[in-house]
């Protein structure tokens, strides 16, 4: 599922080109996007996003979950997609785990919420 609005904070507007494919609303959606993407798409996103990731994370480190303005929430979700596709580039050089069990055999059934404040365990 795609996020409803793809606005990013002004300083990170160059990343807007990636929102359509990578600004997604759950861990499960990000893994599904990774395994259905081409390696070219993943590399384009990796190269583009890592250029800005250090400053994006520095910016996000000043903000609290549970109270993110929409644009900052979108930026965080792009960064979460970068976390998801990191191993595709840095470990496997292909979208899926190389010689791995199919993801569908071991799905994520409880995810950490993307944007909610944390502290209490979610049963």
């Amino acid at each position: 599922m795609k996020s409803s609005n793809n606005t990013l904070p002004q300083a990170f507007s160059e990343l807007a080109v990636f929102c359509e494919q990578w600004c997604l609303e759950s861990s499960q959606a990000r893994n599904a996007a990774r395994i259905s993407a081409s390696m070219e798409d993943i590399r384009d996103f990796y190269d583009g996003a890592t250029l800005h990731a250090e400053s994006a994370l520095a910016h996000l480190s000043t903000l609290q979950l549970g109270e993110l303005p929409e644009a900052d929430g979108n930026l965080l979700r792009l960064m979460l997609s970068l976390a998801e596709i990191g191993p595709a580039v840095e470990w496997f050089n292909q979208p899926r785990v190389r010689d791995g069990c199919d993801e569908s055999h071991f799905p994520l059934v409880i995810a950490i919420p993307d944007l909610e404040a944390q502290g209490d365990i979610q049963g």
Binding site: S27, R30, N31, Y46, T50, A53, E54, L57, A58, L60, S61, T62, L63, Q64, L65, L68, D72, L76, M79, L80, L82, A83, E84, G86, P87, V89, E90, W91, F92, V97, R98, D99, G100, C101, E103, H105, F106, P107, L108, V109, I110, A111, I112, D114, L115, Q118, G119, D120, I121, Q122, G123
Partner: protein, 402 residues
């Protein structure tokens, strides 16, 4: 070999063990699984969750125990105790609770609305006059023995467990007490059914001999690598039926770009970064206090594997349903994100962990297929596969019990 690499003499420390090959019957024969279920799983304490999930009176969670085909409700009762009940109505056996978790004043069956209070007592029967001989106070949800260790909720299905939970956790449990398990409140879970014996699943997390080969693209560089080319472990300790494998960590590892950002923005230590010296560990974690330590893999026999690092931990719970089929749950417990950037570190930890265990999972179904032919009748365990040899030894010991 560098000084930090452990020598080959671990098995010799335990005179009840030897270096002989072992037979493979217990990994595939259904009649032996039936015995395991009876003599091992039916008697064991089973971990169902964390006490932080039950913060208030009436908070509950529901869990499946696939080995026994059971659904169990765990609730904080009116007297503030944690209690466990079979999720089955006394009237005619329907589930009384359909939600996975939440907060209730009473559990009411959606079939005929028989209702039970938080202590499991039957308190409501519609048109009760239709049951002229019913004595409500004699009827309730079936209760299971329930106890806590370091905030983990355990149940035992025996009416008279052979061991208390404290006795069951034993020395290995005592040596882990004090670890801040309660801080791991940001939880994620993967769950699936794998066509493999439960012992193969446990084994895949208990030896590091496979890391340079199977995980050559992934965690080899952090848990083995050029200074530890054969993937030697730091140490293995056998304690009662339980055992701990201390895993080596490459302190010289230079992370790749996204990994490095995740290590920097992680609540607690990310799983593939080597240990953080600033955290005081309980005696039982990295017991030899090796500077090249990453995580400990603590198995509580039979099916609970706690993988514990300085800043996060996760558990594997194995629920065998046949000799060749196991329900596998992997639950991560991360420290809460102190800011929005730390959510990124959490996601990366989750993704790397999943990808590395998907590498492990592929071997499990292949091994099961081959061993089930009866033609692979021996296994050879490396000295640093001691934890696997001990599992084999311990299972055999229990099967010989009457």
């Amino acid at each position: 070999m560098p000084e930090s690499i452990t020598a080959l003499n671990l098995t010799a420390k335990y005179p009840e063990l030897n270096h002989e090959p072992v037979d493979t019957d217990i990994y595939w024969k259904e009649e032996l699984f039936a015995e395991e279920k009876d003599k091992i799983f039916s008697r064991a304490w089973h971990c169902l969750g964390r006490v932080e999930e039950l913060n208030e009176v009436g908070s509950f969670f529901k869990r499946k125990m696939p080995t026994f085909n059971l659904s169990v409700i765990v609730v904080r009762s009116s007297d503030n105790e944690i209690k466990a009940f079979m999720n089955a109505c006394s009237h005619r056996g329907n589930d009384v609770e359909l939600a996975d978790c939440g907060k209730r004043k009473a559990f009411t069956c959606k079939f005929h609305a028989w209702s039970y209070n938080l202590d499991g007592k039957l308190v409501g029967v519609p048109d009760e006059a239709g049951f002229p001989d019913l004595i409500k106070s004699d009827i309730g949800l079936r209760q299971f023995k329930c106890s806590l260790w370091e905030g983990f909720v355990f149940v035992n299905l025996s009416s008279e467990p052979q061991l208390t939970l404290k006795e069951y956790m034993g020395q290995q449990g005592a040596d882990l007490e004090g670890y801040p398990f309660h801080l791991g409140t940001s939880k994620f879970q993967f769950s699936g059914v794998i066509d493999t014996n439960w012992k193969f699943l446990v084994d895949s997390f208990c030896e590091t001999y496979h890391i340079p080969i199977l995980h050559r693209r992934t965690i080899n560089s952090t848990m083995a690598g050029p200074d530890n080319i054969h993937g030697r472990t730091v140490d293995i300790r056998l304690k009662g039926d339980h055992r701990t494998t201390s895993v080596w960590g490459n302190r010289k590892y230079q992370p790749k770009t996204v990994q490095g950002l995740a290590f920097k923005h992680s609540p607690g230590v990310a799983i593939t970064s080597a240990g953080d010296d600033s955290i005081e560990l309980p005696k039982g974690l990295n017991e030899t206090r090796s500077p090249n330590w990453s995580i400990d893999v603590c198995v509580f026999f039979p099916g609970l594997v706690c993988v514990i690092g300085a800043g996060m931990y996760f558990t594997h719970q194995m629920w065998p349903v046949s000799a060749g089929k196991t329900h596998w749950e992997m639950t991560g417990y991360l420290r809460p994100a102190a800011n929005a950037a730390e959510r990124f570190g959490q996601e990366h930890t989750m993704a790397e962990l999943r990808d590395a265990v998907l590498e492990d999972a592929n071997t499990l179904e292949r091994m099961q297929r081959n061993v089930s032919t009866g033609l692979v009748d021996k296994f050879y365990f490396h000295d640093h596969e001691l934890s696997l040899r001990y599992q084999h030894f311990t299972v055999k010991k229990h099967l010989e019990d009457s």
